[in-house]
Structures are given as structure tokens and as C-alpha cells.
Symmetry: C2
Subunit: 217 residues, 2 copies
């Protein structure tokens, strides 16, 4: 499980939990503005009763290129109608590729066959690495890269299966799924630019989408 | 350029240099035993006159699973004939996937279209992530993951091209290529288990393969 502590990945964790998997969570400290995310991830991991929760230290500031890992300002809006088209400035280069790569490494070490990521194609169509064709290509690559993938392919099987149960859900559907599963939504944090105390800004894209989803649900 | 400071990646850098590219080198401190590799990488980067050289701090010890990043012993042999078949214990889970993912992130931020990696299919056929089919699958995935890849595809182009000029060379051919290009081979370090002063052990797989290549060349 890739677990950021936001609504989407937390709901994804709750879905994997309902499906009866033994759970191992992986979070990332990548110099993001939203360090409070990690506290949310720890709270949700504890709620879910995971067998392990690793927080990987990552060095994305050395790469730069995103409002989330540099001094660029996070865009704020009065409503969702003001959000522009195209790929947003909060896009982090190769972020999901890196997250999935670490997840694939851990899966190989644990002998896990399933990797869950809470990407969502509808609300974040501006992020290229949230699309189904990206996830499919990553799974194909992963099974050529790893010992487990090579050994499974020799038996005609898929070694590592990447699960994206939220891929085609709208934000309101995610909220309804989270409520059905008993997820403590108040303990998740979706904001791109929270206060040092972890309070959401209520004006970034992530806050606006979350508020819309909760209102609709 | 992914640059470890070993013979292969250093030769790969020399090849990219001869082809006239502006060079940006990327090395990784991943808790590997061979920290002296990074000093070699810096020496080779200086020799090549790169425009930038970043060293990314990586956290592979949190994942584990390899003799290179854990307390497992690096296997030693009297000769190459003693090296076993299959995937060696020095295989690091998802290492090349992670390295290429960071390289792809940097390429996107720099606007670079070419990414060089010194993987070699002949000598290291035991590593799944050194094979041509892996590299091809990574390139396909990368161009679905990134802003640059999406924009290039919209124009019918390949955004990021991954170059593996050593892929089908034997170790002796790599040594001859390195000599032709004037690479200071003595400044490279291939050993999996060097002394704290950076002296090679002369008995790990990497040392034995390097010695054989130099002898044959």
C-alpha cells in the first residue's frame, strides 16, 4: 500500500483491508510542503492495523520542478471553476513512478503479489502518471525488472499486480466508499499547503476537490 | 547520465561525451557498501566536464533484501568459474528502476531528451533489470508518466530516449572503448566490497569480471 495520508490513499487502504490482505504501508518524506500528511498517514495506518509502516526518506528537492517540493507558490482558488486546464504546477516530476518503484522493491523483498495505489483518473486528469495506461505500463515494466516478475513469468503468471480501485471513481464516490468502510475521514489530510499545525488551507485544488466530494456525498 | 563511478557507467559517460551532448550526471548514495564509488563518480564527472553532478540520497536500507545494502556477506570467489547461476545476492531490488525513475524526473526538469545508463546484458544476465526488454518497457512507461512524454507523443515523437550503449558489449570491449576515449580507468571503482580507503577486494564478482576484461583487452 502506498499511503500518503490523504483521503484517496486512505480509502484505498481501507478497501485493501476489507479484501482481507495482510497490509504493509509505505509513505514518503520527499521534502513536500505537507509534512503533516505523514502524521495523518501514521494515524490511518494505526487505524487499519497494518503489519508494517515504512516512511522512506526521499530527495526530490535535489530534482526540483514542482510547487510541492520547491519555493514555487501553491495556486489558490475561490472555487473549482478557477482551476486551469493542463498539467498543474503541483505536479511532481516522476513522483508516482518513484513511489511505485519503491513499492515494487518492497513487494519483492516481502514476497507480496499485490501493490495498491490510490490514483484517480477523473479528478486529476492533468497528472499524466495517474492515468490507466501509465499504471498498465508500469506493471509490465515491473514484471520485467524484478526477480519475482521473472520467476512468475516463467510459470505464465503475473508476478506483481498493481491495484487502483479508485481509478474511475469520482470524489463523491470515494467519500461514500470511505464512509461505508468506517474510515476516520477527519484524520486524513488532503491539503497541498497546510499550516504548520496541520490545518488545511481550504483554497488549494486538493482542498476544493475534497470539499466538493464531501458536499456531494 | 546515471553515473556510479564504476567502469561501465564511466565508459557510458565517455561515450555520451564523445557524441557531443551537454552532460548532467546523477549518482546515488543508497547505503551501499561501496561508498568509495561516489568519490570515483566525482572524479570521473570532473574528468568529463559535466555541467552538473547531483548525488541523490536514497533510503534502500529501509527496504533491504540485498547483500549491497544489508548485513548479508558479499560472495567472494577465487575465479569466475565459481560464480553461480541465477540472480546473485548482490542484486538490489528495483535498483535500476529507481535510478532510471530519478533520471527521468531530472530529465523532465532539465528538458533533456536523452538518458544514458551503462547496463550490460552479457556479463550480468543474472540481473533482470539489465536486460533489453526491461529498458524498452521502462522507456514506454516513462513516456506515459511525464509531461514531456505526453507532449512529445501528441506530436508523434518519443519524448525521452533511454540509451544503453554498453548493452551488448563484453567486458573486454568495454575496456577497449574506455581506452579509446581516454577514460582514466584507474579512477573508476567497480568493486562491491572495497576497503574503507577505497581499495578493491579483488575477489567479488565485479572485481573478477573487471580483471578478466582488462586482461582480455
Amino acid at each position: 500500500m502506498l499511503l500518503s495520508g490523504g483521503l484517496d490513499s486512505s480509502t484505498c487502504l481501507a478497501i485493501a483491508r476489507e479484501q482481507g490482505h495482510r497490509l504493509h504501508a509505505l509513505s514518503f518524506n520527499y521534502g513536500q510542503r505537507q509534512q503533516a500528511e505523514l502524521a495523518a498517514a501514521q494515524a490511518i495506518a494505526a487505524w487499519a492495523g497494518v503489519e508494517s509502516h515504512r516512511i522512506i526518506q526521499m530527495d526530490l528537492r535535489a530534482i526540483g520542478g514542482s510547487a510541492l517540493t520547491s519555493d514555487l507558490a501553491v495556486p489558490k482558488h475561490r472555487s473549482l471553476k478557477d482551476i486551469g486546464e493542463g498539467i498543474p504546477i503541483t505536479y511532481v516530476p516522476a513522483r508516482n513512478t518513484l513511489f511505485l518503484s519503491y513499492g515494487m522493491a518492497l513487494a519483492e523483498v516481502l514476497g507480496a503479489e499485490h501493490l495498491y495505489i490510490g490514483v484517480n483518473a477523473l479528478d486529476y486528469s492533468g497528472y499524466p502518471d495517474c492515468r490507466p495506461e501509465f499504471v498498465q505500463a508500469f506493471q509490465a515494466m515491473a514484471n520485467l525488472a524484478t526477480r519475482a516478475g521473472v520467476e512468475a513469468a516463467a510459470q505464465g503468471k503475473v508476478g506483481l499486480k498493481i491495484h487502483t480501485p479508485l481509478l474511475h471513481l469520482g470524489k463523491a464516490e470515494i467519500v461514500r466508499e470511505a464512509r461505508r468502510l468506517g474510515l476516520p475521514i477527519d484524520q486524513t489530510l488532503s491539503c497541498y499547503d497546510p499550516s504548520p499545525e496541520g490545518h488545511p488551507c481550504s483554497a488549494c485544488d486538493a482542498c476544493l476537490l475534497r470539499a466538493k466530494g464531501i458536499a456531494e456525498a
